[in-house]
């Protein structure tokens, strides 16, 4: 796939995963990049040096990963496990298990907890400092209306997007019940949810080429600001081809954001002024994940088939 296409924008990292990428994330402290993949590995790259720093095998495809600090991270695997990876030792311990594949994982610096969302329709919080053993590390299990598809954190707010177009907003300090229960304002399956860096709301994307910009504040004035817009579409011979929007990433400094879709495009938007700022030239295949580095200087783009059209030869 790579060789046949014209060179895509940006610098391609060497030693990519051998199968589809499920997620990637920049560290909050360096230009290190953690990549989870369907090839059952989590890989740690130094993006500036273009070097593979580590590769950690898992029992099943890894669906999500996140950093703890620069020396360790967490992964969510399709073999139902939540793991903690210590990069220097190449060591992995299992923090705990879900009853179904773990779809997404977040680490909250505010709460010092790992939050995982799974297709077993639960959300679990873990204390990674606890000694090994599931009983010690598990902080709580919170049932969700449907399978968890996407998670996003900002400050003490946690936004959980599930199947059935449900969105739950939690306060990490009081996880007993959602602070807000919402239905997605989009009509189709939620692909990704990401909170604004300023903590006032979240962006939610669907499989039907649309992104909704929502606000936490339920006052009428704030809710009047919410809107949705179409993107990642192609008009061909009168036919509108609509692509799923797989990834959203907010710029940590400017609050602008990038979206990546199955059309292989990465668009950069200014949400306040409702303008598209930039479109990167087309990548060879779907954009699976996006992440800005801590200072916003780098944008990691994972271009890999996201299985939107089923098995491909």
């Amino acid at each position: 796939m790579t060789s046949a296409q014209p060179p895509a924008p940006g610098r391609e990292l060497s030693n990519p995963p051998t199968d589809g990428i499920s997620n990637l994330r920049f560290s909050n402290h360096s230009d290190h990049l953690l990549v989870s993949s369907w090839d059952k590995t989590v890989r740690l790259y130094d993006a500036s040096a273009d070097s593979l720093r580590g590769e950690f095998m898992h029992g099943g495809p890894v669906l999500d990963c996140c950093f703890h600090d620069d020396s360790s991270g967490f992964s969510a695997s399709a073999d139902n496990t939540v793991r903690r990876i210590v990069f220097s030792h190449g060591k992995e311990d299992i923090l705990g298990r879900h009853d179904a594949p773990v779809r997404c994982i977040e680490y909250s610096y505010a709460a010092g907890q790992v939050i995982t969302g799974s297709w077993d329709k639960t959300l679990k919080c873990w204390d990674p400092r606890g000694a090994s053993g599931q009983e010690r590390t598990l902080v709580g299990t919170y049932p969700q209306p449907e399978r968890v598809y996407s998670l996003s954190l900002v400050g003490n707010r946690l936004v959980v997007a599930t199947a059935g177009r449900q969105v739950n907003v939690y306060d990490l300090r009081n996880m007993s019940q959602p602070e807000q229960r919402r239905e997605s304002s989009l009509k189709y399956q939620t692909r990704c949810v990401r909170c604004y860096p300023n903590g006032t709301g979240y962006a939610l994307s669907s499989v039907e080429g649309r992104v909704a910009m929502e606000f936490f504040d339920l006052s009428e004035a704030s809710q009047a600001k919410k809107y949705a817009f179409k993107c990642h579409r192609k008009s061909e011979a009168g036919r509108d081809i609509v692509y799923p929007v797989n990834a959203i990433a907010f710029h940590p400094v400017y609050g602008t954001f990038a979206t990546g879709g199955c059309d292989g495009f990465v668009n950069v938007w200014d949400g306040n002024n409702k303008k598209r700022l930039y479109q990167y030239s087309k990548y060879p295949t779907s954009i699976a994940a996006l992440s800005f580095s801590r200072d916003g200087r780098l944008l990691a783009v994972a271009s890999s088939y996201t299985f939107e059209e089923g098995e491909k030869p």
Binding site: E12, G20, P61, A224, K230, S304
Partner: protein, 719 residues
Amino acid sequence: LSYQTNTKLLREAIFKTKQNKTKLFVSFSFSSGIINMSTQRIDPLVQVETTCRALLNELQIIWEEVGETDADRDEMLLELERECVEVYRRKVDQANHSKAHIRQTIADSEAELAAICSAMGERPVHIRQSDQNIGSLKEELRKMLSQVEEMKKRKEERRNHFIDVLDQIEMIINEINGSTESVSSETVVDETDLSLMRLEELHRQLHELLKEKSNRLKQVQDHLNTLNSLCSVMGMDFKLTATEVHPSLGDSEGSRSISNNTLEQLGTEINKLREVKIQRMERLQDLATTMLELWNLMDTPIEEQQKFQNVTCNVAASEHEITEPNTLSDDFINYVEEEVSRLEDLKSSKMKEIILKKRAELKEISTKTHLIPDTQLEDAIEAIDSGVIDAATILEQIELQIAKVKEEAFSRKEILEKVEKWLAACEEESWLEEYNRDENRYNAGRGTHLTLKRAEKARSLVNKLPGRVEALTSKIMAWEEERGTEFLYDGTPVLSMLEDYANLREEKEQERRRLRDQKRLQGQLIAEQEVLYGAKQSPPKPQSAKKGSKQCTGVPSTKKVALGGPMLQAHKLDSVNSPRISQTRSNKKTEFMLQNDAIPASPAFKRGQDIADAPFRKHPSNGINTNEIESPLKTIPTNDPSNNTMTPLKTISSVDEENRKPKAMHSTASVQMQTDITPPPTLQTSLVEETHEEMEQSFEEKRLALMHSDKQIPSMIQV
């Protein structure tokens, strides 16, 4: 050499004469021939020869006669010869001297010539020529002298040229520098350098100076022109101004001063005038703007405007665009100023008129809406005249008040109408009371049927009155709560009016009751008296149902009229159309309602209140209709403000939905987000449809389900 040979020859000749006297002559003639060889004049020589011969002959004769000896003769001859030689020598010396002198002179002249030539920068060609040309010294001298003379003449000429040029240069320089001292008569010319080159140089200098002078003259002329135009625009005396700068500039004839100083002064004068001009122009433009505004404001007729068209056309002109003479003169500006002040006076008087009109309007509205007009503006005109307040602000205030009053009137309208109705009803009530007191009211007469009709109407009105009062009270209370002020009707709070009315009513009721009691007592008294005086005892029946029913029949009883007071009668007549019991109850109810403010809540009151409130309770659902039953506005529902409160929620929500859509989106050029909320496009990709046909599954779920296949999809990461 020739002298020596000559002398030798002479000696030979003299020696020969010693031997042969004849030979002497030959030698003599020979020697004289040598001496006079250069001169070709023969005559004097011949003369001298003949004279000499004759003298020798004479001497020989004398000697012969005397008989001198040969020795004496020889000695005499020798002496003669010696004397001759002496004479010759002297002459030769003399000639030598003169030759040397001539040579000297020639050399001098040559030197002089060379000096002159060098001074004039010419090559002394003549000297070389004279060297080559071998002529006699005298000739040479002559030539030389003539050359020198000529050169001197030329030099003089040249010098004059120089003087001429230098004089001119100096004059111009003086003119430019503005030094008043006259050109010095002695022009010092450098005698050593009178070459053409120098002259040319001086000419160049002169030329340059002339050019500068002409430039300056032009400049001065330009300045003067500018000055002239400025002066003419501002109506000033140009000549005077110019003369002030420099006396020579005043008159157009004669040379003008072109000195630096003059130029500078001219420049500063021009700048000064320009500044003055700009000042005046600004002033004039200000005036013109004011004037235009005033015209605009007061719709001044074109004819009047035409007079000042030349002023107003310059409103936006820049400084150099104003060139028309006298447009900026003091007189003209004063003239314009006068006009502006006239217009301003006119405006202020008109303003006053408007203010008065507005005030009248305000008063009218106030009286119409039974509001107390604000008296604050009464002395506005005096305030304006004394200059304390600006007329415009007053006008603004009045306008504001009018708007406020109008707004208030609008908000009061509904209630006011009710109040008016209520007052009318009250009037009707009092009329009815009066009417009821009239004992002859049923006497047939002219127009009695009309009065009866009126009474009938009034009765029904009075029956409705309590309910109306209740509704009005609650309405006013709601209004007051909303506004936070009292609802005033010609300055008196309506609520207090209503309260008074209620009190009055109660008083009347009490009076009525008192009369009733009195009557009952009277009845008892009569009964007692009858008992006392043996009359047939019968139970007192002051207000039995029977009586009531009897009354219901409408048969008037004169006896009752005699017994009961007018109030009681009125009460009874009130109930003429309804069964007694219900009437009393309704009266009771009315009473409670009227005590609304006066009596603290009692159960009965509460009940009354409940009943009274009922229509208002219903308000949210069909309150408009219940209100409108009594409202004349029913016929014009669009004007009824209360109608708007019931506008369907649907429109509000639709507005809301529109608000959600960002408004700023349409005007920008860059790529816009497509934020329509319309349903998704009809043409979906198969994959989207797919996801909806089956049970909802994310791509990952599907993929995991298919994970058994070994196929691995290559991927890459890009940064």
